[in-house]
Symmetry: C2
Subunit: 312 residues, 2 copies
């Protein structure tokens, strides 16, 4: 890592759009107009468009030295090889780092999006300066990334950090892989909505799924709705069970929690802290912080730019 910040392009590649920005250290200097993923079907067209954008950004920022791309799927980080992006047609076995390096002439890095978010929070966000940081994004799914002993930890086949697949109940609901008790099946956006609808029904209140989104039950809880508060308590219990297991295993300095569900703020973080504390020894708890993420939509751009810049 450099002492004087390197200027780099960060690219956050999603199923719908590709977001681009220019960063110098933690500073997001510029955000580009997003590229619509569907407008460039197939890897070649999209990679060409990314390279064209990078070339244009270099005219405005001639000190750009690196490009980092985060993708929604499995990446071999060392080779910058994209195994498969389930939600983006045609993206299978793509040597993205090699192709993009060739087209841009710059150092490139390619990372999984959850890892990039974790790196952003560790390098410049809520987990800055800490040695062991576990980052989570709570949304449709539950993603995660790990910085251990001050380095991104990727596991033996670059698949570490799948916190949403961890089990909180050996007899529980089956996850995407048939994995019983998968956390994601309890606290994913849609599962929260379904659970809330059922809880309201038990209380004799009929609500539609749309009225039971995490955002809607946040507002309801703020307005003093007891059922809504109870639901946040249950979400905190489920998430807290997983976090305490991770804490027993890894004894980290911090959990950094972002994503839409985390926007509930103290409604989630207060019962979550109580739950995690109730599950840990003093030694493990004393060292632990549970922090809201600093970055939101820009986490991908900042994290990917930082990953690439830190390799220059």
């Amino acid at each position: 890592m450099q002492d004087t910040p390197i200027t780099a392009v960060g690219i956050d590649f999603g199923g719908t759009s590709v977001k681009l920005g220019v960063c110098r250290g933690e500073e997001l200097l510029h955000t580009d107009e997003p590229i619509l993923t569907a407008a460039h079907p197939g890897p070649t067209a999209l990679i060409n468009e990314m390279a064209a954008r990078v070339a244009k950004l270099r005219q405005a920022y001639p000190d750009i030295k690196a490009v980092g791309v985060g993708v929604p799927g499995l990446v071999d980080y060392d080779r910058g090889f994209v195994h498969e992006l389930t939600n983006v047609p045609g993206w299978k076995h793509i040597p993205l780092k090699a192709l993009l390096s060739e087209k841009t002439g710059l150092h490139c890095a390619v990372e999984n999006d959850a890892n990039a978010m974790c790196y952003a929070e560790w390098r410049y966000g809520a987990g800055r300066g800490l040695r062991n940081v576990i980052a989570l994004t709570l949304g449709t799914g539950v993603g995660g990334g790990l910085v251990l002993d001050g380095k991104m930890f990727r596991g033996s086949s670059f698949s570490a950090g799948e916190i949403g697949q961890m089990s909180i109940d050996s007899d529980g609901k089956a996850g995407h892989y048939g994995n019983l008790g998968a956390l994601e099946k309890y606290i994913g956006n849609n599962q929260i909505a379904e659970h809330a609808m059922a809880r309201y029904a038990e209380a004799g209140i009929i609500k539609s799924l749309e009225d039971c989104t995490p955002k809607a039950i946040s507002i309801a809880a703020h307005n003093g709705d007891d059922v809504a508060r109870q639901i946040w308590g249950e979400i905190a219990d489920w998430l807290g069970t997983a976090l305490s297991s991770i804490a027993w295993l890894l004894n980290p300095d911090a959990f950094v929690i972002g994503g839409g569900v985390a926007l509930a703020g103290p409604l989630l973080f207060e019962p979550l802290g109580r739950k995690v504390q109730s599950m840990l020894s003093t030694v493990v708890w004393e060292k632990l912080q549970i922090l809201p993420a600093r970055f939101s939509n820009e986490a991908g751009i900042i994290g990917n730019a930082a990953l690439a810049a830190d390799e220059v």
Copy 2:
């Protein structure tokens, strides 16, 4: 780490006895008569006895260059400071590394016993040559240690690896810290015996606790007892739930499993492999091995000697 193996003393400090041996690399050259812990009450007497033994061993092995001690409790590895040994009276806040270095004039290392076992298996045992290894000891309790990216991972306050405290059921049995669903409360020696007794009772068979030890139900299962086989299947489900969660989080190369309960061999390992596979994606499972430990009683001596030797 050295290419030519260093000769070192390994000390395995238990509540009942202190085992000592001399190792050169993976070779256990000599095992000394154990010291009875209770015969030397208080840290000073026991440390003096350890130092006297080391001095004597150096007469027979003049190339001894280091001493590694493993203790049953929380250790600050960097300082070699023993916080507390719950089962050994008087052992609280002891700068063991400093005291033993002073008395022996040798390089010393002090480690938690589960970490030392993990190090032995990674350095010279079942996990040799692998990058990410999770070791477990299944006995009265469930201990664990982690080697991540080729290095012992200890966590932010040296408490990582407490696999027995991880939750397999958010509504489950309370562990030692009030932590619901603690794995140890399902597959600890005594819990296995209690569970087996209950299962036999359900089948109309009255057995005593002594007839329900892991060893006894291993023998029964080998002899074709269906209840006993079913019990091993349940143990595999509980343990497999925890292992799959760890695999999703860390994507390791291997689990290495030792301790008394692991002596059941294929009775445990076969259903365990099936359970873990059923809970994982192909990518995570393909990389993963579930291995019986190579070392048994000598793991502590070998691991502690290796930890100290590798620092010389």
